[in-house]
Structures are given as C-alpha cells and as structure tokens.
Symmetry: C2
Subunit: 160 residues, 2 copies
Amino acid sequence: MFVMGIDPGLSATGYGVVEGGHPPTAMLAGVIRTDPGAPMAKRLAELFIGLTQVIEESKPDVVAVESVFTNQNLQTAISVGRASGVALLAAARAGLAVSEYAPTAVKSAITGDGSASKKQIQQMVARLLRLEEPPRPADAADALAIALCHLRAAPLERVR
Amino acid sequence: MFVMGIDPGLSATGYGVVEGGHPPTAMLAGVIRTDPGAPMAKRLAELFIGLTQVIEESKPDVVAVESVFTNQNLQTAISVGRASGVALLAAARAGLAVSEYAPTAVKSAITGDGSASKKQIQQMVARLLRLEEPPRPADAADALAIALCHLRAAPLERVR
C-alpha cells in the first residue's frame, strides 16, 4: 500500500509517499510553495494543481492529512483550514479515501510520545525509513511522518 | 457586469448572481448543502462540484466571497475556512477574479450600518433588488448581499 501524507499550509504544504512494508520505504517527498504576494484564490489554485499533479504522478492508494491544530490563533487556523480544505478536495477529486490525524496522534504513532519535538519526529522518521539523515525540508519530513502514522493506525481505524 | 456572491459554509453555502444596473437585478440565488454524515473530503468535493456547476451555468464576470468571521470559535473558523477555501478555488479554477469582503463591510455597504441585523440586511437586499419579499433561504439572501456589496465597492477597490 502506498500512502501519501500531506502536511497542509498556505505558504508551504509538505507531501510524502511511503510504501508500507518491513521496513516501510519513502518513495518521494517534497514541498509545494505558493507565492505570498499572490491573491488568496490564486495561491489555493496553485496548491490544488500542485497536489493534483503529485497525486497523479505517484498514484497513492490513500491520503493521510494532518488536521488543523486547535491551539493556533484564529487567523492561522483559517489559513491552514483553507489549505487543508484544498488538500482534502484534491484527494477526493482523485477518488482517494482520506484519513485525518491530529498532530498529537502523529507524534504518538511515530515516537510513542504525543508531545515529541519536531526534531525527535524527524530523527524517528529517518530511522523508520532507513534514511541516513532526516528528510529536508521539514514540511516534507512531517508529511512522511503523517504517512507513517497512517500505516501504523490504518489496521486499527476505519479509513474514511 | 454579473457578480456572483458566495456566503461559504460547510453545511450550507449560499450563492447569488446579480447583474449591475439601476436597479441591480437578481439573476439567480440558492444554497448548496452538504451531507453532515459524509466524510469531510466528500463534503468539500460536493461543495466544489456544486459551485463549479453554478459558475458554469450562470457565467458571472467576477466572484465576491464573504471572508471568515474573526470572532468565531476556532472549530467554526476551521470549518468555514475550508468551505471558503473551496469557494475561492472554484472561482479561480473557472478563471474568475475574486474579491473578499468582511461581514461588516457587507453590512455597511447594504445598510450603511456595519452592525446591521440579519433581518435588516435581508429587507434591504429585497428593496435594492425590487423583490416583493426577502429571498429565502437566508444564506441565499446573504450571498446576494455580498454581490451587491461588490457592485457598490468595485469602483473604489482594486479587484483582486
């Protein structure tokens, strides 16, 4: 099974595709950036087109998205809400099932500790995927962590 | 000029198309509802498909969207953020320019009072559009108000 993890953000959305197995294997990872000077609608369209292309090229079986932090400020929540809405839409339009995971669930699945630091997550992602060093940029590593979280959680959860 | 106003919401998104003129004329208005029991990604896809159809059928020149309330709670902001992100995306994918207006700007443009009640807005929308009674449902009336706001504001603002 190929799982695409997505860490949505308006300025930078990380994505990473992992093939399940022992060990799981990273297939690709990267970041879609949008022009901060462009109008909001154009930025969302850039993100949608970028994600749609990555989905078409990598053909995942399922998509896992990090849900919006609930401890963010309102303006950030709206912005991440828009980006995550577009990510969910891109997956749905490609006919893929989508699971959402809270940030603490991702941290817990990867490190066993729901309050793990970003650095701990990245190191553990590298170890689980047998990479020599943590993937860069950080948003791509986070997306791989979300995909790994889904591979660990999927047998236990109903995939929506 | 034909302006489509959109009042985005996950459960119900109002839309209304107004032709500029003296008086302005309501061309159509309605509401796209999504199934509260369906997965989030499917609901966003329903909304995207619905808005894309309405845009194709009514061929507006420009789209005006109400921006997210900043005094809402976080969960509502995320939900409205997702719906408004999908609305902005549907407009951008149709090649249309999008303007965003804060709720107070809409109220002020329609009634002269940024703190006008929903009822006052609906009555004024009916009067401006020479309708015998306020359009129903309320989300459709709100969308017409946003379109009217754009017609009044457009000569003064840069259309994004």
